[in-house]
């Protein structure tokens, strides 16, 4: 490869484009359907029902404690498939690169994609690269689409939520959002959390024959747990009741969130899921989750009540009670 930065010609379809693909893409993803670089990937599945999703990734900074935008682009799409009750199989990867992007950064991001995809058992089967003039985008943006095969036994959706259902999460919430914000603001305090970016598909698969006991699954990304629970409560027209003391947060996330004035209930996680399930199955599911590394911090955090309020009510750590609302608009820094 010539030079150590991305040039406009790398996206021009000519020799440099070819070199970039041969040097950076094919060694990482070139086995399987991508071999020979066809315009589209031919895939075969024996399953009758497939799940298809897509997402775009523009995180700043692109590298943060615990991962980079490459990991995120795989985990985000894999997790969207997983919470639909699917086994993730194939990914596309489109990249928009800013002219001048250091090649070393691109390599680390692609290494992130490769490692995360291998961990998730998904193949990157098609892709595209565009280079835009300096200033037309902020370093790089990724877009992945994913196809998964529906796992048997899952019937998920807010209408399936019933009074008495338990609500489970697989670990501490908000570490990703806090890690990225701390990196962005240059807050280098000891004990600041690492991003929780990671896959949740193994947790979904672990339900096995208990799949029918699951009513609703979501990954609490943008808007955090507050957004997911409010969405479920509103759609199911039920009251969701949470025990604040039971909701897991890491000490580091709590410290940084306190400093920045962030509400951890509204901060994104990228390796977490929230599950509404029949109360009778909750302990068995928790036990299965806790045997997996990504489920070690699993906890039962609340339940669905009879009331038709569509709200989320939080029993606070201090023994009081309040609404857990969705965040409104852009969060603005305060005077004091």
């Amino acid at each position: 490869m010539k030079g150590e930065a991305i040039l406009l010609d790398h996206g021009g379809g000519g020799r440099l484009s070819r070199e970039l693909i041969e040097a950076e893409i094919l060694p990482r993803f070139g086995r399987g359907p991508l071999a020979g670089l066809p315009d589209g990937a031919s895939l075969t599945s024996r399953m009758r029902r497939l799940v298809f999703t897509t997402d775009a990734y523009v995180v700043q900074p692109p590298e943060f404690p615990g991962g980079n935008i490459g990991h995120l682009a795989v985990h985000g799409t894999v997790n969207d498939l997983a919470v639909c009750g699917a086994r993730p199989r194939w990914l596309s990867l489109a990249m928009i690169l800013e002219e001048g992007l250091p090649l070393a950064l691109l390599r680390r991001v692609l290494d992130g994609v490769q490692a995360a995809a291998a961990d998730c058992g998904v193949a990157v089967v098609t892709g595209d690269t565009k280079v835009v003039p300096r200033g037309a985008c902020d370093r790089l943006a990724l877009c992945t689409a994913g196809i998964g095969e529906a796992l048997p036994g899952f019937r998920l959706g807010p209408p399936r939520i019933r009074p008495g259902d338990a609500i489970l999460v697989n670990g501490p919430l908000g570490d990703h959002g806090v890690a990225v914000m701390a990196a962005r603001e240059g807050i280098g305090i000891a004990g600041a959390p690492r991003s929780d970016t990671g896959p949740v598909h193994r947790l979904v698969a672990a339900l096995g024959e208990l799949a029918g006991q699951a009513a609703f699954l979501r990954d609490p990304t943008r808007g955090g747990l507050a957004a997911v629970l409010n969405e479920a409560a509103r759609a199911a027209r039920r009251e969701v009741r949470l025990d604040e003391a039971a909701v897991p947060f890491s000490a580091g996330a709590r410290a940084v969130a306190g400093l920045l004035g962030l509400d951890l209930f509204s901060v994104a996680s990228e390796g977490r899921l929230a599950l509404f399930c029949r109360a009778g199955a909750a302990d068995a599911i928790l036990a299965r989750w806790r045997r997996l590394p990504e489920g070690r911090g699993a906890a039962r955090i609340g339940e669905v009540a009879r009331g038709r309020t569509g709200r989320v009510v939080l029993a606070t750590v201090a023994g009081g009670e309040r609404i857990l609302d969705v965040p409104e608009g852009e969060l603005l820094p305060r005077i004091c």
């Binding site: 009251e239 003391a245 890491s250 000490a251 580091g252 709590r254 410290a255 306190g258 009540a305 009879r306 009331g307 309020t309 569509g310 709200r311 009510v313 939080l314 029993a315 606070t316 750590v317 201090a318 023994g319 009081g320 009670e321 309040r322 609404i323 609302d325 409104e328 608009g329 603005l332 820094p333 305060r334 005077i335 004091c336």
Partner: protein, 389 residues
């Protein structure tokens, strides 16, 4: 990873329950109920709502929010003056929560949308940096706040003067807390039996600053911290005083607040600012309750430098933020609350600022969307609570 958080000790559920019992017991022996207790500080208001502390109090204790959110008490006319400076092409540096506060004719956010150069700063020192970096432009710092914020604002002027930065000025609406408390205690239509004094302000001015008020009006004035147990302990202290008919200053936040406050900050403020009469949204003009730059620093005073006049503004029709700020009206009792006035489209300042009492009530303690707004934030929810059990 699982180290206990330093703050956990101040959020302990069992200790909170013990304080709850003690408060209920003291309340049952009060000579006169209900006892109206004002938390003056906006951060207290939010903490009370966020931890659901109203639920732990007996009906004999009524909590009302005071004028301690600097954004909420800033007069509409001040916003108009700031917008006028933006229209004249100046760079405006403002704290984020001032952005959406409505003036008589629009907010700073609207001035920005109309092409004004309005920038949000986290520290007032950012304004100094912008002025240094863009010597050809005039930078105006929207200098709003109580004693806590005034000291750093004074520091900006001190630095600008020392470095000879001339293209920076402050549009001040700095206010002093004891003056507001004095006005509330003096007003015949406001009856507050005791106060939780603002913690950060107290860290600057010291507990001693409230002693003249206690001597004049004989009401409990308790300095309490921001954590749930701090607040419950403060309420307990007010009730203990009320029970024995006392009205004293009591500092329960000794880990942060000292009797005489922060002398360095006080000296900085005194050196650069002097008292003036100030307009408070909801309270009107209070003599000597504001601070403006001393004549020696007139070169950094936006009102002098740019010849801008701050005229009293008119509140929006039907808006009762003034009554809310004086503790005369519960947010849920306002006809606009949750209907015409929500955080997404606020009518008055108490709904705009995250620290405003209406915004805190809406966010943490409102009745179900299809029901009527709750009285005291309680009625609607209690009913639901019963249904569930």
């Amino acid at each position: 990873m699982n180290r206990p958080d330093l703050l956990d000790g101040f959020r302990d559920r069992r200790l909170a329950a013990a304080l709850q019992r003690r408060i209920a017991e003291r309340a049952s022996r009060l000579p006169r109920t209900p006892l109206t207790l004002m938390e003056v500080c906006g951060t207290h208001t939010v903490a009370i709502a966020r931890f659901g502390l109203r639920r732990l109090l007996p009906p004999a204790v009524r909590l009302v929010s005071g004028p301690g959110c600097p954004v909420c008490v800033t007069d509409a006319g001040f916003i108009d003056a700031a917008c006028e400076l933006a229209r004249r092409g100046m760079v405006l540096a403002t704290f984020g929560d001032m952005l959406r506060v409505p003036g008589t004719a629009g907010s700073l956010a609207e001035a920005r949308a109309a092409g004004g150069d309005v920038r949000v700063c986290l520290s007032p020192l950012a304004a100094l940096e912008w002025a240094r970096g863009e010597p050809g432009r005039e930078v105006v710092l929207i200098a709003v706040g109580f004693e806590t914020t005034t000291a750093p604002l004074a520091a900006v002027v001190a630095r600008a003067a020392a470095e000879g930065v001339r293209n920076l000025s402050l549009l001040t609406a700095c206010k002093t807390m004891p003056a507001a408390l004095d006005a509330l205690l003096r007003a015949p239509d406001v009856t507050v039996d005791g106060f939780l004094c603002p913690p950060h302000v107290s860290a600057i001015i010291g507990a001693a600053a409230y002693r003249p008020l206690a001597a004049a009006y004989r009401r409990p004035l308790v300095v309490a911290g921001f954590e749930p147990l701090d607040i419950l302990d403060g309420i307990d202290a007010v009730l203990a005083q009320a029970g024995r008919g006392a009205g004293e200053v009591e500092n329960r936040y000794t880990r942060v607040v000292h009797e005489n406050g922060n002398p360095v900050a006080q000296a900085l403020v005194r050196a650069h600012l002097e008292p003036e009469d100030a307009a408070w949204r909801g309270l009107g003009v209070l003599p000597g309750s504001g601070l403006r730059l001393r004549p020696a620093f007139a070169a950094w005073d936006a009102r002098v430098r740019h010849g801008i006049e701050v005229r009293p503004g008119k509140p929006a029709a039907g808006c009762r933020c003034g009554d809310v700020l004086r503790g005369r009206l519960d947010p849920g009792e306002c006809a606009l609350f949750g209907r015409a006035c929500t955080p997404a489209s606020p009518v008055g300042p108490c709904m705009v600022s995250a620290e405003g009492s209406c915004a805190a009530r809406y966010r943490y303690d409102r009745a179900p969307a299809d029901g009527a707004p709750s009285h005291n934030g309680r009625t609607g929810r209690r009913k639901n609570g019963r249904q569930k059990r």
